[in-house]
Symmetry: C2
DNA sequence: CTTTAGCAATAACATATGTTATTATTTTCA
DNA sequence: TGAAAATAATAACATATGTTATTGCTAAAG
Protein backbone atom coordinates (compact mmCIF):
# COMPACT_ATOMS: atom_id res chain seq x y z
CA UNK A 1 0.00 0.00 0.00
CA UNK A 2 2.66 2.47 0.92
CA UNK A 3 4.54 1.47 -2.17
CA UNK A 4 1.60 2.33 -4.34
CA UNK A 5 1.06 5.71 -2.67
CA UNK A 6 4.74 6.43 -3.17
CA UNK A 7 4.40 5.43 -6.78
CA UNK A 8 1.45 7.75 -7.27
CA UNK A 9 3.31 10.55 -5.54
CA UNK A 10 6.27 10.14 -7.86
CA UNK A 11 4.05 9.93 -10.90
CA UNK A 12 2.41 13.21 -9.93
CA UNK A 13 5.75 14.87 -9.19
CA UNK A 14 6.90 13.94 -12.65
CA UNK A 15 4.25 16.13 -14.21
CA UNK A 16 3.51 18.94 -11.75
CA UNK A 17 4.91 20.59 -8.68
CA UNK A 18 3.11 19.59 -5.50
CA UNK A 19 4.60 20.46 -2.12
CA UNK A 20 4.69 18.30 0.99
CA UNK A 21 1.74 19.91 2.71
CA UNK A 22 -0.46 19.70 -0.36
CA UNK A 23 0.46 16.09 -0.83
CA UNK A 24 -0.18 15.24 2.81
CA UNK A 25 -3.66 16.77 2.71
CA UNK A 26 -4.46 15.39 -0.68
CA UNK A 27 -3.18 11.86 -0.30
CA UNK A 28 -5.06 11.44 2.97
CA UNK A 29 -8.20 11.15 0.85
CA UNK A 30 -7.14 8.00 -0.98
CA UNK A 31 -8.99 4.91 0.13
CA UNK A 32 -7.94 1.28 0.28
CA UNK A 33 -10.16 -1.54 -0.86
CA UNK A 34 -9.93 -5.29 -1.27
CA UNK A 35 -11.64 -7.50 -3.80
CA UNK A 36 -12.09 -11.22 -3.99
CA UNK A 37 -11.00 -13.31 -6.92
CA UNK A 38 -13.54 -13.09 -9.77
CA UNK A 39 -15.37 -10.22 -8.11
CA UNK A 40 -16.78 -7.72 -10.59
CA UNK A 41 -16.06 -4.23 -9.31
CA UNK A 42 -17.56 -2.20 -12.15
CA UNK A 43 -20.52 -3.29 -14.21
CA UNK A 44 -21.48 -2.12 -17.68
CA UNK A 45 -24.06 0.65 -17.46
CA UNK A 46 -23.18 1.68 -13.95
CA UNK A 47 -21.40 4.97 -13.37
CA UNK A 48 -17.68 4.65 -12.82
CA UNK A 49 -16.90 6.48 -9.57
CA UNK A 50 -13.28 5.51 -9.08
CA UNK A 51 -9.85 5.19 -10.52
CA UNK A 52 -8.23 2.08 -9.09
CA UNK A 53 -4.49 1.67 -8.60
CA UNK A 54 -3.55 -1.92 -8.12
CA UNK A 55 -1.48 -2.44 -5.01
CA UNK A 56 -1.44 -6.22 -5.21
CA UNK A 57 -3.31 -8.68 -7.38
CA UNK A 58 -4.69 -8.22 -10.85
CA UNK A 59 -7.65 -6.49 -12.50
CA UNK A 60 -8.98 -6.74 -16.01
CA UNK A 61 -11.28 -4.43 -17.94
CA UNK A 62 -13.41 -6.01 -20.63
CA UNK A 63 -16.23 -5.46 -23.08
CA UNK A 64 -19.10 -7.75 -23.86
CA UNK A 65 -20.63 -7.74 -27.32
CA UNK A 66 -24.30 -8.37 -28.10
CA UNK A 67 -23.75 -12.14 -28.09
CA UNK A 68 -22.25 -11.94 -24.63
CA UNK A 69 -18.75 -12.63 -25.86
CA UNK A 70 -16.06 -10.98 -23.80
CA UNK A 71 -13.06 -9.01 -25.05
CA UNK A 72 -10.44 -8.13 -22.51
CA UNK A 73 -9.22 -4.62 -23.08
CA UNK A 74 -6.56 -4.35 -20.42
CA UNK A 75 -4.88 -6.17 -17.57
CA UNK A 76 -3.88 -3.97 -14.64
CA UNK A 77 -1.03 -5.40 -12.60
CA UNK A 78 0.74 -3.92 -9.57
CA UNK A 79 1.01 -0.13 -9.92
CA UNK A 80 -1.19 -0.10 -13.02
CA UNK A 81 -4.50 1.68 -12.97
CA UNK A 82 -7.93 0.60 -14.07
CA UNK A 83 -11.03 2.68 -14.67
CA UNK A 84 -13.56 3.52 -17.35
CA UNK A 85 -12.29 7.02 -17.91
CA UNK A 86 -15.09 7.99 -20.25
CA UNK A 87 -17.71 7.03 -17.69
CA UNK A 88 -15.64 8.59 -14.92
CA UNK A 89 -15.23 11.91 -16.71
CA UNK A 90 -18.76 12.28 -17.93
CA UNK A 91 -20.49 10.32 -15.19
CA UNK A 92 -22.30 8.37 -17.86
CA UNK A 93 -23.02 4.62 -18.02
CA UNK A 94 -19.91 2.53 -18.29
CA UNK A 95 -19.02 0.51 -21.37
CA UNK A 96 -16.60 -1.78 -19.60
CA UNK A 97 -16.68 -4.29 -16.86
CA UNK A 98 -13.82 -4.34 -14.38
CA UNK A 99 -13.13 -7.57 -12.60
CA UNK A 100 -10.53 -8.84 -10.14
CA UNK A 101 -8.79 -11.94 -11.48
CA UNK A 102 -6.99 -12.52 -8.20
CA UNK A 103 -7.44 -11.45 -4.62
CA UNK A 104 -6.67 -7.77 -5.17
CA UNK A 105 -5.93 -4.73 -3.07
CA UNK A 106 -6.31 -1.29 -4.62
CA UNK A 107 -5.76 2.34 -3.83
CA UNK A 108 -8.98 4.13 -4.72
CA UNK A 109 -8.99 7.59 -6.25
CA UNK A 110 -12.62 8.63 -5.90
CA UNK A 111 -14.34 10.90 -8.37
CA UNK A 112 -14.92 13.66 -5.87
CA UNK A 113 -11.28 13.65 -4.88
CA UNK A 114 -10.11 13.93 -8.48
CA UNK A 115 -12.53 16.71 -9.35
CA UNK A 116 -11.93 18.63 -6.13
CA UNK A 117 -8.23 18.37 -6.91
CA UNK A 118 -8.76 20.33 -10.12
CA UNK A 119 -9.82 23.29 -8.02
CA UNK A 120 -7.93 22.88 -4.81
CA UNK A 121 -4.48 21.79 -5.87
CA UNK A 122 -2.35 24.61 -7.15
CA UNK A 123 -1.63 22.71 -10.33
CA UNK A 124 -4.79 20.65 -10.26
CA UNK A 125 -5.93 21.42 -13.79
CA UNK A 126 -2.51 20.79 -15.22
CA UNK A 127 -2.31 17.51 -13.36
CA UNK A 128 -5.67 16.55 -14.79
CA UNK A 129 -4.55 17.39 -18.28
CA UNK A 130 -1.28 15.50 -17.99
CA UNK A 131 -2.89 12.37 -16.58
CA UNK A 132 -5.59 12.44 -19.23
CA UNK A 133 -2.86 12.75 -21.83
CA UNK A 134 -1.04 9.77 -20.37
CA UNK A 135 -4.16 7.68 -20.44
CA UNK A 136 -4.93 8.86 -23.94
CA UNK A 137 -1.55 7.65 -25.12
CA UNK A 138 -2.33 4.19 -23.77
CA UNK A 139 -5.42 4.15 -25.95
CA UNK A 140 -3.58 5.56 -28.91
CA UNK A 141 -1.04 2.74 -28.79
CA UNK A 142 -3.79 0.21 -28.40
CA UNK A 143 -5.53 1.49 -31.47
CA UNK A 144 -2.42 1.39 -33.57
CA UNK A 145 -1.75 -2.15 -32.46
CA UNK A 146 -5.31 -3.21 -33.29
CA UNK A 147 -5.19 -1.63 -36.72
CA UNK A 148 -1.77 -2.67 -37.88
CA UNK A 149 -0.93 -5.98 -36.20
CA UNK A 150 -2.10 -9.56 -36.47
CA UNK A 151 -3.22 -11.55 -33.42
CA UNK A 152 0.06 -13.47 -33.48
CA UNK A 153 2.08 -10.28 -33.56
CA UNK A 154 0.07 -8.92 -30.67
CA UNK A 155 0.59 -12.14 -28.76
CA UNK A 156 4.36 -11.86 -29.19
CA UNK A 157 4.27 -8.21 -28.25
CA UNK A 158 2.34 -9.08 -25.13
CA UNK A 159 4.82 -11.82 -24.38
CA UNK A 160 7.62 -9.29 -24.41
CA UNK A 161 5.96 -6.50 -22.52
CA UNK A 162 3.94 -8.43 -19.94
CA UNK A 163 5.61 -11.84 -19.72
CA UNK A 164 4.30 -12.59 -16.25
CA UNK A 165 0.67 -12.11 -17.28
CA UNK A 166 0.82 -15.26 -19.39
CA UNK A 167 1.67 -17.24 -16.30
CA UNK A 168 -0.87 -15.58 -14.09
CA UNK A 169 -4.10 -15.83 -16.03
CA UNK A 170 -5.87 -18.66 -17.88
CA UNK A 171 -5.21 -18.69 -21.59
CA UNK A 172 -8.76 -17.89 -22.55
CA UNK A 173 -8.33 -14.44 -21.01
CA UNK A 174 -5.24 -13.96 -23.13
CA UNK A 175 -7.24 -15.03 -26.16
CA UNK A 176 -9.97 -12.58 -25.27
CA UNK A 177 -7.30 -9.88 -24.94
CA UNK A 178 -6.20 -10.68 -28.47
CA UNK A 179 -9.84 -10.72 -29.52
CA UNK A 180 -9.67 -14.31 -30.78
CA UNK A 181 -10.99 -17.59 -29.43
CA UNK A 182 -8.94 -19.77 -27.11
CA UNK A 183 -9.03 -22.52 -29.74
CA UNK A 184 -7.43 -20.22 -32.22
CA UNK A 185 -4.81 -19.04 -29.77
CA UNK A 186 -3.91 -22.63 -29.05
CA UNK A 187 -3.36 -23.15 -32.77
CA UNK A 188 -1.25 -20.02 -33.12
CA UNK A 189 1.06 -21.18 -30.37
CA UNK A 190 1.89 -24.31 -32.39
CA UNK A 191 4.16 -22.35 -34.73
CA UNK B 1 -13.35 30.39 -42.38
CA UNK B 2 -15.26 32.69 -40.11
CA UNK B 3 -17.72 29.91 -39.57
CA UNK B 4 -15.01 27.63 -38.33
CA UNK B 5 -13.53 30.24 -36.02
CA UNK B 6 -17.00 30.87 -34.64
CA UNK B 7 -17.41 27.15 -34.18
CA UNK B 8 -14.12 26.90 -32.29
CA UNK B 9 -15.06 29.90 -30.18
CA UNK B 10 -18.34 28.30 -29.21
CA UNK B 11 -16.67 24.99 -28.50
CA UNK B 12 -14.27 26.70 -26.13
CA UNK B 13 -17.02 28.70 -24.46
CA UNK B 14 -18.83 25.47 -23.77
CA UNK B 15 -16.04 24.30 -21.52
CA UNK B 16 -14.37 27.40 -20.07
CA UNK B 17 -14.93 31.09 -19.61
CA UNK B 18 -12.93 33.20 -22.05
CA UNK B 19 -13.70 36.91 -22.40
CA UNK B 20 -13.82 38.94 -25.58
CA UNK B 21 -10.37 40.46 -25.23
CA UNK B 22 -8.72 37.15 -24.50
CA UNK B 23 -10.44 35.59 -27.46
CA UNK B 24 -9.48 38.43 -29.76
CA UNK B 25 -5.82 38.13 -28.84
CA UNK B 26 -5.83 34.40 -28.85
CA UNK B 27 -7.76 33.73 -32.01
CA UNK B 28 -5.57 36.13 -33.95
CA UNK B 29 -2.92 33.43 -33.81
CA UNK B 30 -4.88 30.86 -35.79
CA UNK B 31 -3.58 30.34 -39.29
CA UNK B 32 -5.36 29.40 -42.48
CA UNK B 33 -3.99 26.87 -44.93
CA UNK B 34 -5.07 25.19 -48.14
CA UNK B 35 -4.26 21.73 -49.38
CA UNK B 36 -4.66 20.13 -52.76
CA UNK B 37 -6.57 16.93 -53.35
CA UNK B 38 -4.49 13.88 -52.39
CA UNK B 39 -1.86 16.05 -50.71
CA UNK B 40 -0.29 14.38 -47.65
CA UNK B 41 -0.06 16.96 -44.87
CA UNK B 42 1.43 14.79 -42.12
CA UNK B 43 3.76 11.89 -42.73
CA UNK B 44 4.45 8.96 -40.45
CA UNK B 45 7.58 9.60 -38.38
CA UNK B 46 7.43 13.35 -38.71
CA UNK B 47 6.50 15.45 -35.70
CA UNK B 48 2.90 16.64 -35.66
CA UNK B 49 3.01 20.39 -35.16
CA UNK B 50 -0.63 21.28 -35.71
CA UNK B 51 -4.23 20.58 -34.95
CA UNK B 52 -6.26 21.11 -38.11
CA UNK B 53 -9.88 22.21 -38.13
CA UNK B 54 -11.48 21.56 -41.46
CA UNK B 55 -13.16 24.62 -42.86
CA UNK B 56 -14.04 23.08 -46.20
CA UNK B 57 -13.05 19.84 -47.85
CA UNK B 58 -12.12 16.55 -46.26
CA UNK B 59 -9.12 15.04 -44.47
CA UNK B 60 -8.39 11.48 -43.51
CA UNK B 61 -5.94 10.06 -40.98
CA UNK B 62 -4.59 6.59 -41.65
CA UNK B 63 -2.11 3.97 -40.59
CA UNK B 64 0.07 1.81 -42.78
CA UNK B 65 1.07 -1.66 -41.62
CA UNK B 66 4.36 -3.37 -42.40
CA UNK B 67 3.01 -4.61 -45.75
CA UNK B 68 2.10 -1.08 -46.71
CA UNK B 69 -1.60 -1.69 -46.35
CA UNK B 70 -3.56 1.37 -45.29
CA UNK B 71 -6.21 1.57 -42.58
CA UNK B 72 -8.19 4.77 -42.40
CA UNK B 73 -8.70 5.77 -38.82
CA UNK B 74 -10.83 8.87 -39.23
CA UNK B 75 -12.45 11.15 -41.77
CA UNK B 76 -12.53 14.82 -40.79
CA UNK B 77 -15.31 16.78 -42.48
CA UNK B 78 -16.27 20.42 -42.08
CA UNK B 79 -15.76 21.54 -38.45
CA UNK B 80 -14.06 18.27 -37.52
CA UNK B 81 -10.49 18.24 -36.40
CA UNK B 82 -7.56 16.12 -37.45
CA UNK B 83 -4.22 15.66 -35.76
CA UNK B 84 -1.97 13.00 -34.30
CA UNK B 85 -2.51 14.01 -30.72
CA UNK B 86 0.08 11.64 -29.32
CA UNK B 87 2.76 13.06 -31.58
CA UNK B 88 1.48 16.57 -30.96
CA UNK B 89 1.55 16.22 -27.17
CA UNK B 90 4.87 14.49 -26.87
CA UNK B 91 6.51 15.91 -29.97
CA UNK B 92 7.45 12.39 -30.96
CA UNK B 93 7.33 10.76 -34.40
CA UNK B 94 3.84 10.42 -35.76
CA UNK B 95 2.12 7.08 -36.25
CA UNK B 96 -0.47 8.38 -38.68
CA UNK B 97 -0.54 9.96 -42.04
CA UNK B 98 -2.96 12.78 -42.65
CA UNK B 99 -4.07 13.39 -46.20
CA UNK B 100 -6.50 15.72 -47.94
CA UNK B 101 -9.04 13.76 -49.97
CA UNK B 102 -10.46 16.91 -51.54
CA UNK B 103 -9.28 20.46 -52.06
CA UNK B 104 -9.31 21.44 -48.38
CA UNK B 105 -9.08 24.62 -46.34
CA UNK B 106 -8.20 24.37 -42.66
CA UNK B 107 -7.83 26.52 -39.59
CA UNK B 108 -4.47 25.66 -38.08
CA UNK B 109 -3.93 25.52 -34.33
CA UNK B 110 -0.15 25.45 -34.05
CA UNK B 111 1.65 23.63 -31.26
CA UNK B 112 3.16 26.78 -29.81
CA UNK B 113 -0.23 28.47 -29.71
CA UNK B 114 -1.81 25.56 -27.87
CA UNK B 115 0.99 25.25 -25.34
CA UNK B 116 1.29 28.97 -24.79
CA UNK B 117 -2.44 28.99 -24.22
CA UNK B 118 -2.03 26.68 -21.25
CA UNK B 119 -0.06 29.41 -19.52
CA UNK B 120 -1.47 32.60 -20.89
CA UNK B 121 -5.18 32.02 -20.97
CA UNK B 122 -6.83 32.37 -17.60
CA UNK B 123 -8.39 28.94 -17.95
CA UNK B 124 -5.77 27.56 -20.27
CA UNK B 125 -5.03 24.41 -18.34
CA UNK B 126 -8.67 23.63 -17.86
CA UNK B 127 -9.30 24.15 -21.54
CA UNK B 128 -6.46 21.79 -22.30
CA UNK B 129 -7.85 19.17 -19.99
CA UNK B 130 -11.37 19.43 -21.38
CA UNK B 131 -10.27 19.22 -24.99
CA UNK B 132 -8.00 16.28 -24.26
CA UNK B 133 -10.95 14.59 -22.57
CA UNK B 134 -13.12 15.24 -25.59
CA UNK B 135 -10.57 13.74 -27.91
CA UNK B 136 -10.07 10.83 -25.56
CA UNK B 137 -13.76 10.04 -25.72
CA UNK B 138 -13.57 9.86 -29.51
CA UNK B 139 -10.91 7.19 -29.13
CA UNK B 140 -12.79 5.42 -26.42
CA UNK B 141 -15.84 5.05 -28.67
CA UNK B 142 -13.67 3.90 -31.52
CA UNK B 143 -12.15 1.20 -29.41
CA UNK B 144 -15.48 -0.07 -28.21
CA UNK B 145 -16.71 -0.20 -31.77
CA UNK B 146 -13.61 -2.09 -32.91
CA UNK B 147 -13.89 -4.62 -30.11
CA UNK B 148 -17.58 -5.31 -30.10
CA UNK B 149 -18.87 -4.80 -33.65
CA UNK B 150 -18.54 -6.62 -36.95
CA UNK B 151 -17.45 -4.81 -40.11
CA UNK B 152 -21.03 -4.86 -41.36
CA UNK B 153 -22.32 -3.34 -38.15
CA UNK B 154 -19.66 -0.65 -38.36
CA UNK B 155 -20.61 0.02 -41.97
CA UNK B 156 -24.23 0.53 -41.00
CA UNK B 157 -23.23 2.69 -38.06
CA UNK B 158 -21.12 4.80 -40.37
CA UNK B 159 -24.00 5.02 -42.79
CA UNK B 160 -26.18 6.50 -40.08
CA UNK B 161 -23.68 8.85 -38.54
CA UNK B 162 -21.79 10.08 -41.60
CA UNK B 163 -24.11 9.38 -44.53
CA UNK B 164 -22.50 11.97 -46.78
CA UNK B 165 -19.04 10.44 -46.46
CA UNK B 166 -20.18 7.41 -48.46
CA UNK B 167 -20.99 9.70 -51.38
CA UNK B 168 -17.86 11.76 -51.09
CA UNK B 169 -15.07 9.22 -51.03
CA UNK B 170 -14.24 6.15 -53.13
CA UNK B 171 -15.41 2.90 -51.59
CA UNK B 172 -11.95 1.55 -51.02
CA UNK B 173 -11.39 4.28 -48.43
CA UNK B 174 -14.57 3.18 -46.70
CA UNK B 175 -13.29 -0.38 -46.75
CA UNK B 176 -9.99 0.76 -45.28
CA UNK B 177 -11.94 2.59 -42.57
CA UNK B 178 -13.67 -0.68 -41.72
CA UNK B 179 -10.31 -2.41 -41.88
CA UNK B 180 -11.43 -4.83 -44.60
CA UNK B 181 -10.68 -5.09 -48.31
CA UNK B 182 -12.80 -3.35 -50.89
CA UNK B 183 -13.68 -6.75 -52.35
CA UNK B 184 -15.09 -7.81 -49.04
CA UNK B 185 -17.01 -4.58 -48.57
CA UNK B 186 -18.56 -5.06 -51.97
CA UNK B 187 -19.74 -8.51 -50.87
CA UNK B 188 -21.12 -7.23 -47.57
CA UNK B 189 -23.23 -4.65 -49.37
CA UNK B 190 -24.99 -7.47 -51.29
CA UNK B 191 -27.07 -8.39 -48.27
C1' DC C 1 -12.78 14.93 -77.30
C1' DT C 2 -10.15 11.24 -76.45
C1' DT C 3 -7.02 8.66 -73.87
C1' DT C 4 -5.62 6.97 -69.53
C1' DA C 5 -5.98 5.94 -64.85
C1' DG C 6 -8.89 4.87 -61.22
C1' DC C 7 -12.82 2.54 -59.59
C1' DA C 8 -16.43 -1.07 -58.34
C1' DA C 9 -18.35 -5.51 -59.07
C1' DT C 10 -17.66 -10.30 -59.58
C1' DA C 11 -15.78 -15.03 -59.63
C1' DA C 12 -12.63 -18.56 -58.09
C1' DC C 13 -9.74 -19.85 -54.95
C1' DA C 14 -6.76 -19.50 -50.51
C1' DT C 15 -6.19 -18.49 -45.73
C1' DA C 16 -7.63 -17.01 -41.16
C1' DT C 17 -10.62 -17.59 -37.70
C1' DG C 18 -14.86 -19.39 -35.41
C1' DT C 19 -17.82 -23.40 -33.61
C1' DT C 20 -18.69 -27.58 -31.56
C1' DA C 21 -17.42 -31.67 -29.46
C1' DT C 22 -14.15 -34.72 -27.13
C1' DT C 23 -10.61 -35.77 -23.97
C1' DA C 24 -7.10 -35.44 -20.42
C1' DT C 25 -5.41 -32.64 -16.92
C1' DT C 26 -5.54 -29.37 -13.28
C1' DT C 27 -7.74 -26.50 -9.93
C1' DT C 28 -11.22 -25.44 -6.65
C1' DC C 29 -13.66 -26.03 -2.76
C1' DA C 30 -17.16 -28.44 0.08
C1' DT D 1 -9.67 -36.10 0.29
C1' DG D 2 -12.92 -36.47 -3.39
C1' DA D 3 -16.34 -34.60 -6.50
C1' DA D 4 -17.23 -30.85 -9.48
C1' DA D 5 -15.74 -27.21 -12.25
C1' DA D 6 -12.39 -25.05 -14.99
C1' DT D 7 -8.79 -25.47 -18.30
C1' DA D 8 -6.06 -26.57 -22.58
C1' DA D 9 -5.30 -29.25 -26.54
C1' DT D 10 -7.05 -31.29 -30.58
C1' DA D 11 -9.93 -32.62 -34.56
C1' DA D 12 -13.49 -31.80 -37.97
C1' DC D 13 -16.07 -28.78 -40.00
C1' DA D 14 -18.21 -23.98 -41.01
C1' DT D 15 -17.82 -19.16 -41.93
C1' DA D 16 -15.44 -14.79 -42.61
C1' DT D 17 -12.18 -12.50 -44.95
C1' DG D 18 -8.18 -12.00 -48.13
C1' DT D 19 -5.97 -12.48 -52.92
C1' DT D 20 -5.77 -12.33 -57.66
C1' DA D 21 -7.61 -11.65 -62.01
C1' DT D 22 -11.17 -9.94 -65.17
C1' DT D 23 -14.52 -6.82 -66.82
C1' DG D 24 -17.05 -2.68 -67.66
C1' DC D 25 -17.75 1.86 -66.10
C1' DT D 26 -16.47 6.57 -64.68
C1' DA D 27 -13.52 10.31 -63.74
C1' DA D 28 -9.36 12.83 -64.78
C1' DA D 29 -6.14 15.01 -67.71
C1' DG D 30 -3.91 16.27 -71.82
Amino acid sequence: MHNTLEYIHKMILEVVDIDAIEWANYSAMFEIKEFKKKEVILNVNSICQNVYFVNSGLLRTYFTDKNGRESTFHFAQEFDLATDLESFIQQTPSKYHIQALEETQVVVWPHKMVFDGYKNLRNGEKLGRMLTEKYFILFSNKIQSLYTKTPLERYNEMNKRFPTILQRVPQHYIASYLNITSVHLSRLKNE
